[in-house]
Amino acid sequence: MNYRLNITLRSLAAIFGSYGLAVASSFALVPIFMHVFGCFKADAVYLGTIFSYVFYFACVIFSFNRASVLLVWRDITLVCFIFYLMHYIGNIL
């Protein structure tokens, strides 16, 4: 794959993909804080949003280090899906 396309796709993953992952993490963290740490819902949402920055940061570093661009996007999508599942299960509980 040509270098410029590679960089562009990775940058898109770092800027937008990571943001999507961060938002997804802020949703997924809510049931974790509520059920594992026993927080109130408001605190869980508050903390979840704060910790989503960590996921954003990790994803940026990740998108420039993974061996192939396709793997980057595949992994981001996969993790977002897992986060969505966690949010969905949290809603049911």
Binding site: S26, A42, V45
Partner: protein
């Protein structure tokens, strides 16, 4: 992408730094100036005179407030402090939609109203560094992006250095590029915790607009509802509808407050809610010197009975985390020593960013055989973004002194001067040869900075004389800072002139020439 982790990080450091460098420099310069926001405002509102405070201020304010109107539901007295010499009384009158607020700035000796010139003062720098004068156009989002990229820059920057601890204390002075690189490295090392805290706290401050989705999904009114659920506050005053005369003496309250808050000048402001009602309440706000959290500490009293009311309940951890980061960012708690230390670290961060941009350009010009538009753009933006910004800030101070007092929207005119001078520098940096543009703009800045205390003295000598008499360190300190900054700019200018004129020391150009000859 690249063969190993470290090289990826170096690549990321280089390009993220390049993309956001000038914006970050602007934000850090104006942000660092904001540490002395109140002191700068003191210099820019010289009519306020020098700070003198006494306990008489409180009771006299009460009588002044009761003279204003008997319909008010809220009185506020803001006491002057060493940092903020404004003595303000304000009152609000309920109206159809929103209460109307009135305020008067008073002289703390005569209690006459002072007409202060219309200016933003130091607050311009504070609001600029997070809104970028683009308040309705997403300035806060741009600043937020800059904060996140700074975090990336900090983290990746650690990896660019191969011998992190061995080169901890090293600044080589034999060659220009090595000095710049080592300066960049040392500045990076010393400001590592500072920049991390500042950038991360910046992201947390506006978290409600940066990552609002979770709150919007879980609560009807999004972050507003969330905030109400996690924050604690005093209950609202319920009016008993029994009309009374407002109290006239605040001394008993002050004495009680002194037992809880033993430090000197503990009281920042006093609010008297429902002054004409028998359920009136006195709120005393503490000067934020003790706690890192940005939650205002307040003691509440029943006005008529002087009884101490129940304190605000402490907030839970989640909310406190954001409060502490917010407090760390604003640093209201900083004593003068600590404030100068923060200022030093802020200046070091600015040097970090500026040196990074200059290093990028010089390294790239060394490698490349033919320059293209991108290199010229970076070169000129470096000049306008770094030197031009300094000249623009100086012109803002000049505008404050020179623009006549009775002009409409004077405050906006000062800001326009700042932006206009910066824009002129941008054009200037494109039409002159690079090194000359650097040295000329720096020379103008140095001259302007060194002359400003003199100009200020010529316009109205009384301001400086009064400041010296009352040892108003804010005013005197500002003049000294102008002279010091002017001196620094002048020495950089002199050094640059030496670099331009000495033919052997034209390191960049001669290195390229010798390489070209070697290739032929």
């Amino acid at each position: 992408m690249k063969p190993d982790f470290r090289r990826c990080m170096i690549w990321l450091h280089t390009y993220s730094g390049l993309l956001i460098g000038w914006l970050l420099f602007v934000i850090f310069v104006t942000g660092t100036l904001s540490y002395f926001n109140l002191e700068i405002s003191q210099w820019m509102k010289p009519e306020l005179g020098s700070y003198k405070s006494s306990d008489k201020l409180l009771n006299q304010s009460l009588s002044l407030l009761s003279e204003q109107t008997n319909k008010s539901q809220r009185w506020q007295i803001n006491l002057p402090t060493e940092r903020d010499n404004q003595f303000v009384i304000s009152w609000s009158i309920p109206d159809v939609k929103r209460a109307k607020r009135f305020s008067m700035i008073l002289d703390s000796q005569t209690f006459n109203e002072i007409k202060v010139r219309d200016t933003n003062g130091g607050n311009f720098f504070r609001t600029f560094h997070y809104t970028l004068e683009l308040r309705g156009f997403g300035g806060r989002y741009i600043a937020g992006i800059a904060a996140m990229v700074m975090l990336i820059g900090i983290f990746t920057g650690v990896f660019t250095h191969r011998r992190f601890f061995k080169d901890f204390f090293t600044i080589r002075i034999n060659k220009l590029m090595k000095t710049l690189t080592d300066t960049h490295a040392v500045m990076g090392v010393i400001t590592l915790p500072f920049c991390f805290v500042i950038s991360f706290s910046a992201l947390l401050i506006y978290i409600s607009i940066y990552v609002p989705f979770s709150a919007q999904h879980h609560f009807d009114n999004g972050y507003r509802d969330l905030n109400k659920l996690v924050s604690t506050s005093l209950p609202k005053v319920t009016a008993s509808n029994i009309a009374v005369e407002p109290i006239k003496d605040l001394m008993p309250f002050v004495n009680t407050v002194k037992t809880y808050w033993p430090e000197k000048a503990a009281i920042k402001s006093i609010v008297y809610e429902q002054p004409f009602d028998s359920n009136g309440r006195i709120l005393v706000y503490r000067n934020p010197l003790i706690s890192l959290s940005n939650k205002a500490e307040v003691l509440a009293f029943h006005a008529k009975s002087a009884e101490l009311l129940a304190p605000i309940e402490p907030e839970r951890t989640a909310r406190v985390i954001r409060r502490i980061f917010y407090g760390l960012h604003e640093a209201h708690f900083a004593t003068p020593t600590l404030r100068w230390l923060f200022f030093f670290m802020g200046v070091a961060s600015c040097i970090l960013i500026a040196s990074g941009l200059i290093i990028w350009l010089n390294k790239r010009l060394d490698k490349v055989k033919k320059r293209h538009l991108g290199h010229t753009l970076v070169e000129r933006l470096n000049i306008a973004g770094i030197a031009g910004l300094l000249l623009a800030i100086t012109s803002y101070f000049y505008a404050n002194r020179i623009i006549p007092l009775n002009i409409e929207s004077r405050a906006e005119l000062e800001v326009t001067t700042f932006l206009l001078v910066w824009f002129i520098c941008l054009i200037y940096s494109f039409i002159r040869p690079a090194l000359k543009a650097w040295s000329e703009i720096l020379f103008f800045t140095a001259l302007a900075l060194l002359l400003l205390p003199l100009v200020d003295f010529l316009i109205e000598p009384n301001w400086l004389m009064q400041a010296l008499e009352y040892k108003n360190m804010a005013y005197i300190g500002f003049d000294l800072a102008l002279l010091f900054s002017g001196g620094v700019c002048l020495s950089i200018y002199k050094w640059l002139k030496g670099v331009i004129e000495k033919p052997e020391a034209k390191n960049i150009k001669s290195e390229i020439k010798t390489k070209e000859r070697a290739l032929c």
